[in-house]
Symmetry: C2
Subunit: 607 residues, 2 copies
């Protein structure tokens, strides 16, 4: 069989197997798989350099299906390279199968979960940046994109960043099959429209007939000759290619074929071709950054330091101690103090500009290769990337995110800049860790712990300076809490800015003869259930105070921990829309300052 | 004073007032205001047609500061047109002042809150669409954008949609002052770079020196001659223009000037010029869509209908009854059943393609003019627009959002498509309403209620068909709940898919002699505190079940309602990362199906 014939037969096999898998499952996206089969056949046969026996090899190319719904095609590729067998292919979408509806990293060859459109390409940007600036290895990042997903703003963020960073190791294979879920896409087969956009962003563009094996081969070959620009292969294709009943016809998105046996016959029947994927060559190893070591920063108790500043200092010190720690920021590094890391470790700092989706996506890409990214911006603006954060959990990604300027305590800037939902947002991410330090030394310890933790780790910091109340080096294990002041009449629970308000309230109450226990709940998730239950048992009740809406934050974390105990709990939180004002005015207006906490405690004790 | 001299003097006044307001506040963004002063002076003087005495006039132009941090400039404009006086100007950022750190609609001339970058332009797209397709009035939408925010993907979504929809009534004034918060922007003063991007998206581009009054005048005049394309005026400007100490110098972002008195002198001193803004002319009135009326859909009890389908039917019927109801969808209208509205009311349907930020932003723009938009997509993908939803609450916007395909019960598609955080997400929005119907007739009633509700309204629907258990026309007031089955031993609380599981559990328990009360908690926020407290008092405890992570959803809403009552509550929720499988398999694995609920109830009764 000559080369192009083999390619054609392989592509037909991928189509047949996509049809078979979807029919076995009774659901899935065969037609969206069939359009890209020729691209994948060519990629596997001579272009992708990936050792499927050793997916952890750092020299491997990476392949991301940004159009994750084409999972039947991806799994058919895995079968064609011998990574899975035909029996497993037919477990597609079954309960317990590794072959989920959309690819996830339960399969060792899948870097990240996809299925929320527009995510694969920005994550690919993160991997391509990793290759060039961190690993410093010549691997390539291939991303299969759909045309429907090109309307996602996150795709544009990726185009911008890849062009700006000159990522010529990033190749987007764009399957322009014209048809979305409900009808024609915005631009149909107007490849020139897409080309103009990609060109404008600094990409090299190759326009081809995605079903012509010679054109596909020429484009992939050309794409590999890096010239400083990322490459977009714009492939005009037909959805459902090869089966007349569905080819280029609307109404067949996301459905198994009605007549799969006929379709398989029309495609030339089942095949059992095996393609040997190229392995990476050379003996390069990933770059290792020198880490001279050094201590963690220490702050003098009694001084006042913003926790965001302590974050920056801690991150810089971590960078001194560990070569695998990297930092990214969304063009606010002088507010988040990520600039301290940037100035000390410029090679490991990434300016992501004001593009929070790309900020988080790049971090996801970097952790795929074992780097330890810390990404920061205002906590309010991390909400821009919530879908990426949600999906990062599905990707089993290890992220460290820092959100600054939380709550009304930022003061004059007003509600657009105030994160008042971030605790709810991050608590409701699977397996997440949510930390909220009240002082600089605590911040340092928590930042250091985040570096070693799996999953989605979030640190909430405060804009204004807060008193340093802990000694340097004190330990604050994740999942713990700290009794900052003892007392048995009532318990005041705060974190971050409100811990200091709670301490102020306890002072006032003590003068009135009420002994309040004050708990610093710096670990919002996991939460210290034991300490809270002990407080519920030993004191007259709990008053919680948080610079956050009442829903999903510290108060509800406490209520969950105490569910069924019968302990009186009063949740103080921000209940009205704030405006501008001084931090003190706004904390007072929200009813989460020391006087408000004292009042609630008095009422509780009086009951 | 000749025209251009007046313009210059007016611009200098806007700069001086920006400096004065920021200095009075001790914070704010004078330098980002000064760069755009010439653009605004020209706009106010002969181009903007806005009756500041009658901001509700439907014929008015709209002016959105997408770069909301240039609020000192905006407020200085308000003073220049006589809308506010100098004394109020100097209340900038004070507690209780209408002049917040970033503009919000507490001022009657502000359509929407800005301050989270990249939002003003996509909302402007919504307003421009409203002008052309709903109001059918010749007003223009002027949006002042910064250059830093152009890296936001949402800006690209706006460029794409405006070009595609040929919104030549939309004019973006882009203040390319080169400097972001921390340093130079990605493209600096490379206007050609921006021009190529905007051109590619189908915009008309005018490149000018943003400080040359003749060029500014020519561009605004040209921009008004609509030719079917939206217009981007790319204005090269200098941050801090007019004050040598700060002009075009980094390090002065978001700070009052160090020497304001000298700056004011350098700018020629304070002025008290007044500009008379043009008023809209003509006697056109907003278009009114015919609404022939008709009943709401009714479903036969005992049949099975998906709540998402009932949403589509209800929406279509609402469209029959009310001409002000419009619908938008993110290219999944055959999944959300928004297609039923589209087919019945094509003039009032907007296809937003796969661009959830633009989907929500367009809805925000439409409600500014009093239209009643319903926007739909998969619930999981609304997380893409969370920052817009958060900000919509600051904008005091009235939104109706429908998220379909919630929870593990979607089955085979896997976790990327499963919303498991949406209840937490929407509960943590200020003033929000969160509804979760379990049957088709209930869905119809709730959709009808949403149309009349202020604030952010969210309806969660289920993919699969669920039994119709209510009669057509039964009422389900927001904030209420329904006891579907009575009993005094234990209470089972469900909503949506889990209500049916709870009913199944109650059947099983009844056979064992345990009488379970079943509460349909269709209104997750506001929640029916009375009914829950009554159940807590009258039964042995509550078991809640939700197809959602344990954090921030139905269970914590119940815990909040019962805080301090001492009632035993057991929260059943999804605690492990799901894969693919049948709905029944996944509900079982998550421990939220009828057997799991029955087991938890048995354990509670046994205590």
């Amino acid at each position: 069989m000559d080369h192009l014939t083999f390619r054609f037969e392989l592509a037909q096999q991928l189509r047949v197997d996509s049809v078979r898998a979807s029919s076995a499952a009774g659901s899935g996206h065969p037609t969206s798989s069939m359009s890209a089969a020729d691209l994948m056949a060519a990629l596997l046969d001579g272009h992708l350099r990936l050792d499927f026996d050793h997916p952890e090899d750092p020299r491997n190319d990476h392949l991301i299906f940004s159009k994750g719904h084409a999972s039947p095609l991806y799994y058919s590729c895995l079968k064609a390279v011998g990574a899975i067998d035909d029996a497993e292919l037919l477990t597609f979408r079954e309960f317990g199968s590794r072959l989920e509806g959309h690819p996830t990293p339960v399969l060792p060859w899948v870097d990240v979960a996809t299925g929320s459109l527009g995510q694969g390409l920005p994550i690919g940007v993160g991997l391509a940046l990793t290759a060039q600036r961190l690993d410093r290895l010549p691997y390539r990042v291939w991303v299969l994109c759909g045309d429907s997903e090109l309307t996602e703003g996150s795709i544009w963020e990726a185009l911008e960043h890849a062009g700006h960073e000159q990522l010529d190791n990033l190749i987007a294979l764009i399957d322009v099959n014209r048809l979305g879920q409900t009808g024609q896409t915005m631009h149909g087969w107007d490849l020139d429209a897409y080309a103009a956009r990609a060109h404008a962003a600094g990409w090299r563009v190759l326009q081809i007939d995605g079903h012509d094996p010679e054109q596909v081969e020429a484009a992939l070959k050309d794409a590999e000759s890096g010239d400083g620009r990322p490459v977009a292969v714009l492939a005009a294709t037909k959805k459902g290619k090869g089966v007349a009943e569905v080819e280029d016809r609307p109404g067949f998105h996301g459905k198994p074929l009605v007549h799969p046996e006929e379709a398989i016959r029309e495609l030339g029947g089942s095949r059992d071709l095996r393609v040997t994927c190229a392995k990476p060559t050379g003996d390069e190893v990933p770059h290792v950054f020198a880490a001279p070591g050094g201590g963690l920063p220490a702050f003098e108790p009694g001084t006042e330091v913003a926790t965001r500043k302590a974050y920056g200092e801690a991150l810089r010190a971590l960078g001194d101690r560990r070569g695998d720690v990297v930092a990214l920021d969304g063009e606010v590094s002088n507010s988040t103090f990520a600039e301290l890391f940037r100035d000390a470790h410029p090679d490991r700092y990434f300016e992501m500009y004001i593009a929070e989706q790309q900020l988080v996506a790049a971090s996801i890409g970097m952790q795929v290769r074992g780097w330890v990214p810390f990404a920061s911006t205002f906590a309010a603006f991390l909400s821009r990337a919530y879908d990426f954060i949600r999906m990062a959990a599905v990707s089993r990604a290890n992220l460290r995110l820092m959100g600054s300027h939380s709550g009304v305590s930022i003061g004059e800037d007003g509600p657009s800049q105030m994160a008042l939902e971030d605790l709810a947002e991050f608590r409701a991410v699977h397996g997440s860790t949510v930390l909220y330090p009240c002082d600089a030394n605590q911040t340092v310890q928590l930042v250091a712990e985040m570096a070693d933790r799996d999953g989605i780790n979030y640190l909430r910091t405060t804009r204004g300076a807060t008193p340093v109340i802990y000694e340097p080096g004190e330990e604050f294990p994740v999942g713990g809490s700290r009794v900052v002041r003892d007392g048995d009449d009532v318990t005041l629970v705060g974190a971050g800015i409100t811990l200091h308000e709670a301490l102020g309230a306890a002072e006032t109450l003590a003068r009135e003869g009420i002994q309040a226990r004050v708990i610093d709940l710096y670990s919002i998730k996991p939460v210290d259930v034991d300490a809270l239950r002990r407080a519920a048992a030993e004191t007259g009740g709990l008053v919680t105070a948080e610079d956050h809406w009442p829903e999903g934050g510290l108060g509800e974390a406490v209520l969950s921990a105490l569910a069924g105990t019968g302990a009186p709990v009063r949740v103080l939180a921000v209940r009205g829309m704030p405006g501008s004002g001084t931090p003190a005015e706004l904390l007072g207006q929200a009813g989460i300052d020391a006087p408000a906490i004292a009042l609630a405690a008095r009422e509780m004790v009086a009951v």
